[in-house]
Symmetry: C2
Subunit: 193 residues, 2 copies
DNA sequence: GTCTATATAATGATAGAC
DNA sequence: GTCTATCATTATATAGAC
């Protein structure tokens, strides 16, 4: 423990990474407007100065965060046969209170109001979600069905996790899962049925 | 034009109303965090002082705006037989660019990130949308199905109007209408089918 | 590489004049 | 009933020390 002190010190790459992940959590939880660079930096163990040093501005930090969050799209990228279950499962899965997970749709929902953040998100969504999902779907109007799937998924998270709808929160998890999986599956199958 | 000057002057009720409608438009467009009381007041033709004079605080102004916006719920309150068409129609109807209409779902989407605004919205949504819609639906799990309908509706508007998804914007209106109406109808009908 | 201190700007809210 | 002027707070971003 002599060569590597317990507190990472003067390491540009590690500091940059710590800021980036702190920002991902903070933007996902509070939205672009709801958090300041000072607090993002404080959670990362540094001061706000280094945010601008490593990212230039809050807006550029947000761009980097979006790319990080949307790079892992295992939700839509995996096995098509289980996609409906995967999406439905994500909706009904309980999340620990207080330690809200930093997923990309919360980042999207909470930062969409800010005009510049919306532009950054629109571009990233098209590249990381709409395009690969559309490419995976069979049958006619794949692009439209992909968008409707994303809309259903985003709307459910909006009501359940951002608004906190009691009806969705109190619903029986098993039957909610079944109903949602069926809806997603019919969108995946398309009008061929 | 002698007794009523062209510019409304020193009329408390009219001024309050002007502020309220200016705030509705502003909050719908920019979200709770995205607009200041000064600019809301300026659009209403007064200074920011009167916002606090008539509403007490920005937060109380927002509460009044939410009640105003959600009071007209003709979309969900009308004939149940045509509800699915009404919802699908609202999604595909083109909206004039630049003069964005001030509807309640934009208010919801853009202000949800703010914690206090989210509380106010959650309460108002439960009273004005979830409760009446649940009461109208037949069959089991009416509350859950009502919430899923709201989620689908909100998610579609999120992608189309806030994020600006090209896939939804470019979709053929007629087939999109048919697909969405079918989804809403199956939620209205429930598992009885 | 990281800090303290500060410049600059915008916000919500209030006091007091008219 | 409405204004101008101001306070207190907070935000992003930067200059300069170590």
């Amino acid at each position: 423990m002599a060569s590597t002190p317990p507190k990472r010190a003067r390491n540009a790459a590690a500091t940059r990474d710590a800021i980036l992940h702190s920002a991902l959590a903070a933007f996902s939880h509070h939205g672009y407007d709801g958090i300041g660079v000072r607090e993002i930096a404080r959670t990362a163990g540094v001061t706000g100065v280094l945010v601008n040093r490593y990212f230039g501005s809050k807006e550029e930090l947000f761009s980097a965060v979006v790319e990080l969050a949307f790079a892992d799209n295992s939700l839509f990228g995996g096995d098509l046969a289980l996609l409906a279950q995967r999406l439905a499962s994500r909706i009904v899965t309980k999340t620990k209170k207080g330690a809200e997970p930093t997923d990309s749709f919360l980042l999207l929902l909470r930062s969409a109001p800010h005009p510049r953040a919306a532009e950054i998100l629109r571009d990233s969504i098209a590249r990381h979600f709409e395009r690969p999902l559309k490419a995976t779907l069979q049958g006619p109007r794949a692009s439209e069905r992909a968008a409707v799937m994303l809309a259903l998924f985003a709307g459910l998270q909006l009501l359940r996790r951002v608004i906190g709808s009691k009806a969705l929160a109190d619903a029986n998890n098993a039957s909610l899962f079944d109903d949602l999986a069926a809806m997603f599956q019919s969108l995946i199958d398309g009008p061929a049925a």
